[in-house]
């Protein structure tokens, strides 16, 4: 059994994460070989949705985890330590709405004094519109956010985009950029102290890449 358990995100960050772990000598072959299994005790890896990584790490179910800064910002209340910017998986958090002028969100704000915004990131979106002084009704959705403005449910969305392709294909354009997010290494607060040596050794290998 390895000294450390690492929570690895499935989805867009999986490839980059596994390459990274390979590069510092952690065997990821079992993970690559099976995309249904979740727990790989023999190599100290557990796999999950990116948005669950901070939850498991906070609880101590994993000592370390890799997830996007978007998740960490949305779940800023979690008690986890952020150790390293891993530099891959770069995405941008954006406000987007249906293409064409005028921007339906601006139009809603002008006519009604409020815009409706769909997002998977309700805390980030709420904080952003409050900070920029605009009244927004935030609608939390779990799946494809692009659908919400197309059906007329909302005037805008706040979502993470890598290339903008999905937005474009659905007739949406980026109106504002909030921040860029990359993959981060996080640690459980107890493990960070009790397994300091193992964690620092792993950090050293990551920094030396």
């Amino acid at each position: 059994m390895p000294d450390l358990t690492i929570a690895v995100p499935r989805g867009a960050l999986l490839g980059g994460t596994l390459d990274l772990l390979d590069s510092i000598g952690i065997d990821t072959a079992p993970v690559r070989a099976n995309d249904r299994r979740l727990l790989f005790e023999e190599v100290g890896i557990v796999t999950m949705r990116p948005s669950d990584v901070a939850t498991y790490v906070e609880a101590g179910a994993a000592d370390l985890g890799i997830t996007g800064k978007d998740v960490l910002r949305e779940q800023s209340y979690r008690d986890v330590y952020e150790l390293l910017d891993l530099g891959f998986g770069t995405c941008t958090m954006v406000v987007a709405s249906v293409a064409g002028e005028p921007d339906p969100a601006v139009e809603a704000l002008r006519r009604l004094g409020v815009m409706r915004v769909a997002t998977k990131y309700p805390r980030i979106a709420t904080e952003y519109f409050e900070r920029t002084g605009r009244q927004a009704e935030i609608v939390e959705v779990k799946g494809s956010v692009e659908l919400a403005p197309l059906t007329g449910m909302v005037e805008a969305i706040v979502d993470l985009t890598a290339t903008g392709t999905t937005l474009r294909e659905n007739g949406l354009v980026i109106r504002e950029e909030l921040f860029t997010a990359t993959a981060r290494l996080i640690a459980n607060p107890v493990a960070h102290r009790l397994k300091a040596e193992a964690i620092d050794a792993l950090l050293g290998r990551l920094r030396a890449r």
């Binding site: 101590g60 150790l83 607060p189 107890v190 493990a191 102290r193």
Partner: protein, 332 residues
């Protein structure tokens, strides 16, 4: 019929109650043997009085009484005991030693599995300054934990004044200081690195600001800190010199430990057990708090979360009876 109770609260039934009692009794026996007198304070206090301790955990539950006064449920026992010392022991010769087993109340996030009401067992040592007072608190805490039968715990020890002292040494603007402190308190080392680099200091100084809070380990980590941080580090060394090997061996220095922007002024500690993902207790020095209640005295204390301690002990018992199946079971 099932009648709900608020999330984050629970009923304790006789079997478990017996186990919890055994724990709190073992702790209390040690405190009393060390000369700490048990006390009891009201669960409800005037919110205004609790607020004198700005920086303490916010009282989360408030009620208006029938005279329109705002009452609040205490969020810890340190603040009520500071009030007791100022009001009931205004002239008593320090040091004063108090202990308690009491419920405290905190806000919970939705669907996060946190507790609103939790049982704390702890001590406050008032009027004993560093390093002797700090060493006594650590010694009593370890003796109490040993008495419950906990085996593999460690104490992370840091100093809340260390990083502020480092920053003062660089004469930074108030704004830069508060940005760095906020990254430190949330333990965002990526953010800390970004803020430290933005200061435009020499490479060595930048490295110091980024590196010191990431140092954890034995006494040798203290050697890495010089200059404006030297005083805080020397204080930790003096505490260590006063400790018996049995206590000293449990200590992991953690130079990034600050326990929030609360009332801590010097040494701070977290109790860590490998079976739990969160600290099961902690404490530290709060040399300014009593002054806010009108009796300026240095003080130090700790609080242990009895439910967490119970879980850690249960985990140990499982591990002892079936060594093959127990590893990490509760955490999985």
């Amino acid at each position: 019929m099932i009648h709900p109770i608020p999330s984050g609260t629970r009923d304790v039934l006789p079997d478990e109650m017996r186990e919890l009692r055994a724990i709190t009794r073992a702790l209390l026996e040690v405190y009393e043997d060390e000369g700490y007198g048990e006390l009891w304070t009201p669960t409800l206090e005037y919110e205004e009085v609790l607020r004198r301790a700005s920086g303490a955990a916010e009282p989360a539950y408030r009620v208006f009484d029938d005279h329109g006064e705002v009452l609040a449920l205490r969020s810890d026992m340190t603040v009520p005991i500071a009030r007791v010392v100022a009001s009931r022991y205004p002239t008593a010769e320090p040091p004063l030693r108090f202990c308690y087993t009491a419920h405290a109340y905190r806000a919970v996030g939705r669907h996060r599995g946190q507790t609103r009401e939790f049982l704390q067992s702890g001590v406050e040592l008032v009027g004993a300054s560093a390093p002797e007072g700090t060493a006594e608190a650590l010694r009593v805490m370890c003796r109490a934990l040993d008495a419950t039968g906990l085996r593999d715990y460690r104490i992370a020890v840091g100093d809340a004044s260390l990083y502020p002292a480092l920053l003062r040494g660089f004469e930074l603007s108030e704004e830069a200081t508060s940005r760095l402190m906020s990254e430190l308190v949330s333990r965002d080392f990526v953010g800390l690195e970004r803020e430290a680099r933005a200061l435009g200091l020499s490479a060595a100084d930048t490295e110091l600001l980024m590196g010191v809070p990431q140092l954890r380990g034995g006494p040798s980590v203290l050697d890495a800190v010089g200059g404006p941080g030297a005083e805080a580090v020397a204080g930790l060394r003096r505490v260590l010199e006063l400790l018996d090997a049995s206590v000293a061996d449990r200590i992991i220095f953690d130079l990034g430990l600050s326990r929030g922007l609360g009332y801590y002024t010097g040494a701070v500690f977290d109790v860590l057990d490998p079976s739990l993902g969160t600290p099961l207790g902690g404490g530290g020095r709060y040399d300014d708090l009593l002054g806010r209640f009108g009796r300026p005295l240095p003080a130090v204390g700790f609080a242990l979360a009895v439910d967490q301690l119970h879980l850690a002990l249960a985990e140990r018992d499982v591990a002892r009876t079936s060594p093959d199946t127990a590893t990490g079971e509760r955490n999985a």
